[in-house]
């Protein structure tokens, strides 16, 4: 098994694991992070398939921008659930004002 095969195998496992994590994670922020990981692994596939342009797009848009977009949309909808221990740093969206 060559190095490329090993990387492909690793990336297949990563794509499937993160895709299922996206489906089954209760925490929406975690799910958004998982989708970015799917894109990151897929962009490695594009590099292996010798399409660096597409890989760059996938890494920039899929792994960078869309994850940020999903996270910000979740924040706007008040769906962030970060358990913060320190008092006064509660980041949940439902602050009364």
């Amino acid at each position: 098994m060559s190095w490329a095969d090993l990387i492909v195998l690793l990336m297949v496992v990563l794509v499937l694991a993160t895709a299922f994590a996206t489906l089954f994670l209760r925490n929406l922020l975690g799910a958004a992070v998982a989708t970015t990981l799917v894109s990151l692994a897929v962009s490695v596939f594009y590099v292996i398939l010798r399409a660096p342009d597409v890989a760059l797009t996938e890494a920039a848009v899929g792994a960078g921008l869309s994850g940020l977009l999903l996270a910000l949309a979740a924040k706007r909808l008040g769906l962030w659930h970060i358990e913060v221990q320190e008092a006064g740093l509660d980041e949940r969206g439902d602050d009364p004002c």
């Binding site: 489906l23 660096p52 342009d53 890989a55 760059l56 797009t57 920039a60 848009v61 960078g64 921008l65 940020l68 977009l69 910000l72 949309a73 924040k75 706007r76 740093l89 980041e91 969206g93 602050d95 004002c97």
Partner: protein, 231 residues
């Protein structure tokens, strides 16, 4: 219920993908004639070392303009939906500065992201990448400081100006070809020496316009999402 159905669709798609992978379908069985023709002719005709750029801007420039138009329409629609919700409730958004790691990471990453984004844009005709990818990196570079220090926002007006001027520059560069009896968006200024930074005629100018436009558009989109995140 919806989750069930979406999971079903996902499973069906996965099954189809595995079926295609394992049944050994002859992918691309009729030989791709266009690709080979482009590979043969593009270096001499357009002079871009990156053939993808030669196709995206040289042979299919109007498609790229269509993409820009779609992006513009989407950003405008999102700005319309998100932009005017502030007047109804006068609730000061709970602004919390980012943590130390976010701020320090932002200080280190911001110049790096700027350099990488501009490099990807300016070398779009030489190396993989180009206006769209570099523009996204630039947008990320300008959103990161806002996440770290939510109090100092870059102005929306400046972004709108950059976006508009870049779009106008793209179209004007395309129309300049009309003055020389060429087709709209046809590359001008000769091909130059292939592989040099100043080569491939007007393609770098077009990609710079695309990069600035995409960057300003996406940055203002993300900023309008972050703005009232507290409530």
């Amino acid at each position: 219920m919806l989750t069930r159905y979406s999971a079903l669709i996902f499973a069906a798609g996965l099954a189809f993908m595995l079926f295609v992978l394992f049944s050994g379908l002859p992918l691309g069985a009729p030989g791709m004639v266009v690709g080979q023709a482009v590979l043969d002719r593009a270096p001499a005709e357009v002079g871009a070392a990156n053939i993808v750029t030669a196709v995206v801007l040289g042979y299919r420039g109007i498609d790229t303009m269509g993409e820009l138009a779609i992006l513009f329409a989407a950003a405008t629609a999102i700005g319309l939906v998100l932009g005017r919700s502030r007047g109804s409730r006068h609730c000061p958004p709970a602004i919390q500065p980012g943590g130390f790691i976010l701020r320090a990471g932002n200080d280190m990453l911001f110049p790096l992201l700027l350099v990488v984004g501009l490099y990807i844009i300016l070398h779009g005709h030489l190396t993989p990448g180009g206006g769209f990818q570099g523009g996204v990196v630039l947008a990320a570079a300008f959103v990161l400081p806002v996440l770290a220090r939510p109090t100092d926002m870059p102005s929306h007006a400046a972004m709108a100006w950059i976006e508009g001027l870049a779009g106008a520059a793209f179209i004007l560069t395309g129309m300049a070809a009309l003055a020389y009896d060429r087709a709209f968006l046809a590359p001008l200024l000769g091909t130059g020496e292939m592989g040099a930074l100043v080569s491939a005629g007007t393609l770098p100018i077009l990609y710079l316009a695309v990069g600035l436009k995409v960057g300003a558009e996406l940055a203002s989109l993300l900023l309008s999402l972050t703005e009232e995140g507290g409530d």
